[in-house]
Symmetry: C2
Subunit: 407 residues, 2 copies
């Protein structure tokens, strides 16, 4: 009998009505003859409210106790989901991570899954029940309650789908799929039917975050097909699947914009082994998340210029830190440009097509958009532009790569 894992995010279980709707979806699959495992997030904003409570009590709550606290959100929603299924006359049972045997490491607030036992879940499925599993939670080998990190219910769902050899892992959310661009910015954006794991990872990390990156990584590793779809409609959404040869026919799968970035430029950094390591170790130690890094040799080769981009809100802290580093390391100067955005094109087709970058730069030039930095990887080309040009650039690239009209 085929098995489906359904994941319902916080926005899909925020109210009693939505929980009933999610319950009906699970029941529908059950009535269609499938075994159903549902993974549920905490209701709406409840995790945020719990964290707020913690910071009312303590400026620096111990991470173990934070996990003890926040994992209650999922325990609430699995119980309610099971009740909703019972109310509709079907059998369900809710299970915590401890009851499932979802074992993680002991890194509280961002634990990683070590193993999942299929035994209890299979026993409940064999008894004809819909099984509701708490997302986001784990237990470490000592029985301590852990949390997988924000957004990690996706990871729970895909990992369960892998262990249970599910036919598909459905991610129900408040959008109906992955789009060629953010439809709020590009009215011509179209829903993507199929996207490869690699493309989705890039799209997710670039801001089209409908599925959590760790979830996609699990999908890649265990080849679990992931179906991202709306909890409000029955429309097919976007399938995230292993790459097939035909996928390369499309050069660009989607375009993305990261709007609020700052670029830090370190001018004339001594060009010797360990310079970059020293800089970014320090940045990392301050929990500043660096986006892209670009380094060019300058002058007579004894110096390099290092540019990196960072979330706009981290810019003041990064500036202060880099000014200290400039003193310590004899760096020429630090410049901060806080009016930039990043525009990217993503597609596995770039591997087999030539001239994609040139075509991108031409499209931007035709729209009178100046390119400040360029960064490329195998299936992504990104440019830094002035923030004022960001949306125009996004639309220009969407049109230039025929995403407006479809393949």
């Amino acid at each position: 009998m085929s098995l489906v894992v359904q994941k319902f995010g916080g926005t899909s279980v925020a109210t009693a009505e939505q929980i009933h709707r999610a319950a009906r979806r699970a029941i529908q699959e059950k009535l269609a003859g499938r075994r159903v495992v549902a993974v549920v997030s905490a209701m709406g904003e409840s995790t945020d409210r719990l964290i707020e409570l913690a910071y009312q009590i303590s400026r620096n709550p111990p991470k173990r106790e934070l996990d003890m606290l926040v994992t209650t959100g999922e325990q609430v929603s699995i119980a309610l989901m099971a009740m909703a299924i019972h109310e509709a006359g079907h059998h369900a049972i809710s299970l915590t991570a401890a009851q499932v045997g979802l074992v993680t490491d002991s890194v509280h607030t961002k634990a990683r899954i070590h193993s999942i036992s299929a035994e209890r879940i299979n026993r409940e499925l064999d008894a004809g029940r819909i099984v509701i599993v708490a997302g986001f939670q784990g237990v470490d080998p000592a029985g301590e309650i852990t949390a997988l990190g924000r957004g990690a219910s996706d990871t729970t769902a895909v990992a369960l789908a892998a262990v249970l050899e599910a036919e598909v892992c459905e991610i129900y959310t408040d959008v109906d799929g992955v789009y060629t661009a953010d439809p709020r910015l590009v009215p011509q954006a179209r829903k993507i039917g199929r996207v490869s794991y690699d493309e989705m990872l890039e799209l997710a990390s670039l801001g089209a975050g409908v599925v959590h990156s760790r979830g996609i990584e699990f999908g890649t590793k265990y080849q679990v097909p992931i179906h991202v779809r709306s909890s409000m409609t029955d429309n097919k959404g976007t399938m995230i699947v292993p790459e097939t040869p035909g996928m390369e026919d499309v050069i660009v799968r989607g375009v993305t914009l990261r709007r609020d970035l700052a670029r830090i430029r370190l001018n004339r950094v001594p060009n010797r082994p360990g310079s970059a390591a020293r800089i970014f170790e320090r940045v990392n130690a301050h929990h500043l998340v660096v986006d892209d890094i670009i380094q060019n040799v300058t002058g007579d080769g004894t110096m390099v210029d290092i540019d990196f981009t960072i979330d706009l809100e981290d810019a003041p802290q990064a500036r202060a830190l880099c000014e200290m580093l400039a003193q310590e390391m004899d760096i020429g100067s630090v410049q901060v440009e806080d009016q930039v955005s990043k525009v990217s094109i993503v597609g596995v087709g770039m591997r087999s097509h030539t001239g994609v970058a040139a075509r991108m730069f031409r499209a931007l030039a035709d729209s009178q958009i100046n390119i400040e930095n360029i960064n490329t990887s195998e299936i992504v080309i990104s440019v830094i532009v002035r923030r004022d040009d960001g949306e125009k650039a996004l639309r220009a690239l969407h049109a230039a790569f025929q995403l407006d009209t479809g393949p």
Copy 2:
């Protein structure tokens, strides 16, 4: 090293400020050189809110899922309490029932404790930590999450105190002890310094409910001294302790009023084996909780009159049920009197003093109060009076047994 168990009820941990206050109490005992285990209830009204949520989803939620849901309230408060202790610079760890090894039977929503393992708690105490245990929760032998029933955090605390051989179990609450009468009704009421388990059980069941009955039963069984005291002051409260010979010197420890009762009278019930059983089995099957039952033989001995009291709000249902029973069982008539209250005096001194009942009836007569029914047990005498007379009766008895002035 001596050990104290402190229990903080919902009203003592309803806000961040109150949680900090509870944390300070625990720390204070720790600094005084004791090992400290704190048992915490859910914050304020949070259990009620969770139950409300359940009934928004389902008219008849499965009990297993209700327990899964409501036990999250205590998990939230133990985490916050541990955070508050950390914030004050001391070591604490929160533990769920599963982590403690508090094993119950499998009767969801009113599970009973089977066993508690001291191993994990002692390990944490040995490491110098204050241990925070979730009240109200348990796990059954199969690892299912259970709830002990409303108010049962007291039970958790006293049971833990028994297992850990605590010197005392402190119950922190929003009143500063047990009183000779409800001070809102009897301004002369005084705080009782020491009360025996048996007296407290009667006082609790008669409405002076500052400690849950099951908790007191555990106290009796394992001879755990229980100290009921206010979370707002440092005043000594009331000690609930094993009975000592001197206690009988006081005839009446306290007087109580159950205000809103109804009396159902079944007139001329055929006096044959099984009549009473049949009636009260049916009443029980409808989840109506009967207070007192009084039966008198009437007429030529072929009939009996059965009176029973019941919560006023259950009276309409009880009347309908009894009228059906009257038809089926050939009972003469059903009368409902919904304007009655019960006034009781409680004290182990009654065992060794004679004429207590007479003295009670005289006091009521002197206040022009008519007695409708009388019911006695070893340490309690109760009378049913008209509701209008209830408070007057309470005050009259409080004065008559010298509770106004003290021993």
